[in-house]
């Protein structure tokens, strides 16, 4: 009985509209779906400078909504995504980008996951080889016995 109620509730929840990412402002979406898509993508990859670990899209503070207005206006003015990012970086620095740019200063950051994975693979291979060798020796020993 309980399980049935649970299933019914889950089914009902699925029918509810998903929370919308742009619901934070009471303004209508941008006129073209493509523009709205870019608006959502950009506001998710730009940092709210006031709360710092939230994106512009998620933050309720005043500055974030002002910056969302900026992004909207620039999209409507026909600016490219890169131009809008550059506009923000010129004012707030690289820190406003959640995805840091590739440059000599950030090279270590970008290469670290690859380097760590290589280290992991090397260690893994070594451990496996050691184990195989040991198992081989043991079986030889048991044959000898």
């Amino acid at each position: 009985m309980r399980a049935r109620i649970l299933v019914a509730l889950l089914a009902l929840a699925a029918l509810l509209p998903a929370p919308r990412a742009d619901a934070i402002d009471s303004i209508p979406p941008l006129p073209e779906p493509a523009l709205q898509q870019r608006y959502l993508a950009l506001t998710h990859e730009l940092r709210c400078m006031q709360c710092q670990n939230e994106s512009l899209a998620d933050s309720p503070v005043g500055l974030a909504s002002d910056l969302r207005r900026d992004v909207r206006e620039q999209l409507l003015a026909g600016q490219s995504d890169q131009q809008i990012r550059d506009h923000m970086v010129a004012r707030y620095g690289e820190f406003i980008l959640f995805r840091p740019r590739m440059s000599w200063r950030t090279a270590w950051l970008w290469s670290l996951p690859g380097v760590l994975m290589l280290v992991g693979i090397v260690i893994g291979v070594r451990v496996l080889r050691d184990r195989r060798q040991r198992v081989g020796e043991e079986s030889e020993e048991s044959l000898d016995a």
Binding site: M49, G62, L63, D66, R91
Partner: protein
């Protein structure tokens, strides 16, 4: 014995390294919240704001040329700004650098009431009602203070309330 030592050496070294990194991170944590402004060393943004006290005297980039200036971003909704106000009054008293205010996303009447209650340290105040100019200045949390040299270049920026010590050490020392 040797085999045991070998087995633990690498993870232990890794752990020690992690410890160093984390402790260094803790030590530098206070600076983490402060974002270095890309405006430093660059000319002030072009802007023009209507005067808060006198509509006929706007605050604009040209106002900040030909003399050193302190540009202070504030608002009556900003708690820290009240704490900072006394320092601003002292700086005005000192008379070395004129202070220009950007009243950020504020109610004009409240702002005028605040000034008549606490005193007005500003030479001129621009009302940034929509917060557009503050964005051009890269402002993210009031109060913020900028030191501008006579050619209009941003020389220094301080985020948070000014104190007499900070004024002395970080601003006055930069005056030529």
């Amino acid at each position: 014995m040797n085999a045991v030592a070998n087995r633990f050496a690498l993870p232990l070294a890794g752990f020690a390294l992690l410890l160093v990194v984390l402790i260094a991170g803790l030590y530098h944590a206070p600076e983490k919240g402060i974002i270095v402004s890309p405006l430093l060393g660059k000319p002030t943004p072009q802007f023009s704001l209507p005067g808060l006290l006198d509509e006929s005297s706007p605050l604009q980039a040209q106002t900040l040329r030909g003399h050193w200036s302190l540009v202070n971003v504030w608002g009556t909704w900003c708690f820290e700004c009240r704490a900072e106000h006394e320092t601003l009054l002292q700086i005005k008293q000192q008379g070395k650098v004129p202070i220009f205010g950007i009243d950020w996303k504020d109610d004009d009447d409240k702002a005028r009431a605040w000034l008549s209650e606490l005193g007005n340290p500003y030479e001129r105040i621009g009302a940034d009602r929509e917060g557009r100019v503050a964005i051009d200045w890269g402002v993210y949390g009031a109060p913020e203070s900028f030191l501008i040299n006579p050619s209009g270049t941003v020389v220094y920026k301080h985020v948070g309330a000014l104190t007499p010590e900070i004024w002395q050490q970080e601003f006055l020392s930069r005056l030529l």
